[in-house]
């Protein structure tokens, strides 16, 4: 028995090969996975994001506005729109639709003309230091470049620049990357650990033969689905508590907003992952397939959500896919509540996409759930 039998080995190998061949879905996934991932990540990852949304707030009309805006635009990092009020700037930066607010102070023109080097305050969303890093460092070269565009009387004495930029990194003034990474980590870890829970739920029943008995009884598909999701929401919460505990004690993660709100929203996020898992479970023919489907989505979700690389740096199409991913929204919500102290109003734009995602996946799961053995 101890001797390695080549014949036995060959027979086993042949059997495995036949099984692989007769499971075209798994085969397709095995081939498609690396190709898709290479394509997605190869093009989507960009740690030097351009065209970041910025708002321009002017205390009074300035004749230098056009020159400054043009100079900022020329760096390629800023996509500027003029804001009408302070309040608009505040909501924009809290919701994440603006990463920068450029404040041109009152009396700016007069101070420049008198050579007093006034300051332009740039409020930056510091929750993700990587995203704003290149954009802010590009500012240093800008104050001198602007000189040439100034009226001749102000050009001569190059001793002090016409004006300065003051960058104020909001929410994360020390630009600690961990503060950005930890909320993101909460979401990705939660995604990976919860999705797999339900992925095997239906396929396992089918493979153990218990499905035949379940189908023989009067059960509704939606009952089966929800019954399989619910217990895992509790398990998900347990994970949330562990992750939050570790984050606050080990990483000194600040909790600026309402912890209760955070927990409520994370419940929704957990449900979205479980719903996706169970959808895979109904579509897949066996446990192997279901598991591969889950693995197939985890990495793209993680990367497209803006966890590993700046969301703003991805091309438009990749951002569109990212917007459909619950992890993207959950990450914004968690960062918003923990670091920015956001309330329900600010996070609402990120709540409904997760709810919609749950509805769509559960609908697909119920559609694919077969009430017969056909």
């Amino acid at each position: 028995m101890k001797r390695f039998s080549f014949r036995r080995f060959w027979a086993l190998l042949r059997k495995e090969w036949l099984q692989v061949k007769r499971d075209p879905m798994t085969l397709r996934l095995i081939i498609a996975m690396p190709v898709m991932q290479l394509l997605l990540f190869g093009y989507a990852i960009n740690t030097n994001p351009k065209d970041l949304p910025a708002g321009l707030l002017m205390a009074q009309p300035s004749k230098y506005e056009r020159t400054i805006v043009a100079a900022l635009r020329n760096t390629g990092y800023y996509k500027i729109k003029t804001l009408s009020s302070e309040a608009e700037a505040e909501t924009g930066i809290a919701q994440g639709s603006l990463l920068f607010v450029i404040n041109i102070p009152p009396d700016f023109d007069r101070l420049v003309d008198r050579g007093e080097s006034p300051s332009i305050l740039i409020d930056a969303d510091g929750t993700d230091p990587v995203t704003i890093g290149s954009a802010t460092s590009a500012l240093s070269g800008l104050t001198n470049a602007l000189n040439r565009d100034l009226p001749p009387i102000r050009q001569a004495p190059a001793a002090n620049p016409a004006f300065n930029f003051i960058i104020h990194a909001r929410y994360n003034p020390e630009q600690i990357t961990a503060l950005n990474v930890v909320p993101g980590l909460i979401c990705t870890v939660l995604m990976m650990s919860t999705m797999i829970l339900t992925t095997l739920a239906i396929t396992r029943e089918r493979e153990r033969g218990t499905m035949e008995n379940l189908l023989g009884m009067p059960v509704r598909p939606i009952e089966v689905m929800l019954a399989k999701i619910s217990p895992y929401i509790a398990i998900g919460y347990l994970q949330v508590l562990i992750i939050l505990g570790v984050s606050t004690f080990l990483f000194q993660l600040p909790v600026q907003g309402s912890l209760l709100l955070l927990l409520l929203v994370l419940g929704l996020y957990i449900a979205s992952n479980l719903a996706l898992g169970i959808t895979y479970s109904t579509i897949a023919a066996n446990q192997m397939q279901a598991q591969q489907m889950a693995q197939f989505t985890m990495l793209p979700f993680m990367i497209l959500s803006g966890f590993m690389f700046p969301f703003q740096g991805m091309p438009f199409w990749a951002r569109c896919i990212g917007e459909a991913v619950p992890t993207t929204h959950a990450m914004r919500i968690v960062r918003g509540i923990l670091l920015k102290g956001n309330g329900l109003a600010e996070i609402f734009p990120d709540i409904w996409p997760i709810a919609l995602f749950i509805c769509v996946t559960v609908f697909v799961a119920v559609r694919f759930y077969r009430e017969t053995l056909d």
């Binding site: 153990r208 218990t210 035949e212 023989g216 053995l373």
Partner: protein, 309 residues
């Protein structure tokens, strides 16, 4: 319609089911009366399981029509399901739940009004009370099968569909199982049961023999035996195994089988059979004519199938 006790519980006509190119059930017509125990017999792959699955709505027939308790098996499958107890061929309860938990789940799925009480009552009746807390996965084969039957009858169905319920179960447990089935049939429960065991077939009120997805023989066990028109001779003595092989090729012998220390040969032509036995004289065997048994008939049916194809 359902008020009339004379209506058959199962009434299907021309039932068909294909898996790919294969006609697994090919125009099956069957009536089963209330309180009847109907035995489903036939070789592996003859369509027994597929028929049972169609009757309880787990498979959609590709053709034919029919009713269970007057309800259409295609359009009203969900309603039929509530009144049917289906015992699968493979143990299909949760092995990681206890006996009680499994039964409690079933009671809840059927939304039984006094579910807990019903579970305790049926566990008492089926002798499962002592094992209520045991994990289903740790039960022996006989007890697993008893749990499965209990779960099937818990919601007080009007029809039991049992798919090889006693496969792999010892003789004592099988006898007890059938005693329970008879008790329940006496109370008015209709039972359709598939089996490979002849002793079980003999305990059915009516047997149906399937071949290639069609019914080829049906009737009471006695009718099936007499309609086969089989003449059977038995021999005992030394060398019956060798004689069995020799007889298989002999003229007039359609089946030749050893049962313990007896050799049975059967055929439909008495003259040829007697000539064969006379011709075999000189061997150390003593022949006598015996009543054909159900088993002879089925072996005859099975071998007829293999020679006709």
């Amino acid at each position: 319609m359902s008020g009339n006790g004379q209506d058959p519980v199962i009434d299907v006509r021309g039932l068909r089911k294909n898996f790919g190119e294969r006609n697994v059930v090919d125009g099956l017509t069957l009536q089963v009366a209330k309180g009847e125990i109907c035995g489903f017999l036939g070789a592996n792959g003859s369509g027994k399981t597929t028929t049972i699955r169609m009757l309880c709505g787990l498979l959609t027939p590709d053709g034919g029509s029919g009713t269970c308790f007057g309800r259409d098996i295609i359009r009203e499958a969900a309603l039929i399901r509530r009144q049917v107890g289906y015992m699968t061929q493979k143990f299909s309860f949760y092995e990681d739940l206890t006996v009680f938990e499994n039964l409690d789940l079933v009671a809840s799925i059927y939304e039984m009004p006094h579910g807990r009480a019903a579970v305790y009552a049926i566990m008492e009746r089926m002798g499962l009370t002592d094992r209520a807390g045991q994990l289903a996965g740790q039960l022996s084969g006989g007890w697993k099968q008893r749990l499965a039957l209990t779960a099937c009858v818990l919601h007080q169905p009007r029809l039991l569909l049992l798919d090889e319920p006693t496969a792999g179960v010892d003789a004592k447990a099988r006898r007890e199982f059938w005693d329970l089935i008879h008790d329940m049939a006496d109370e008015g429960l209709t039972v359709l049961v598939s089996t490979h065991y002849m002793d079980e077939a003999e305990r059915c009120k009516r047997i149906v023999y399937l071949e290639g997805g069609r019914i080829v023989v049906q009737g009471t066990p006695d009718e099936v035996v007499s309609n086969a028109g089989l003449i059977t001779f038995a021999a005992s003595g030394t060398g019956i195994d060798e004689a069995a092989r020799r007889m298989r090729r002999a003229p007039g012998v359609e089946s030749s089988t050893v049962f313990g220390h007896l050799l049975h040969i059967a055929g439909q032509d008495r003259v040829l059979l007697e000539a064969t036995i006379r011709g075999d004289a000189g061997q150390d065997l003593s022949w006598r004519e015996v009543e054909p048994r159900l088993e002879d008939v089925f072996i005859h049916l099975l071998s007829e199938k293999s020679t006709s194809r």
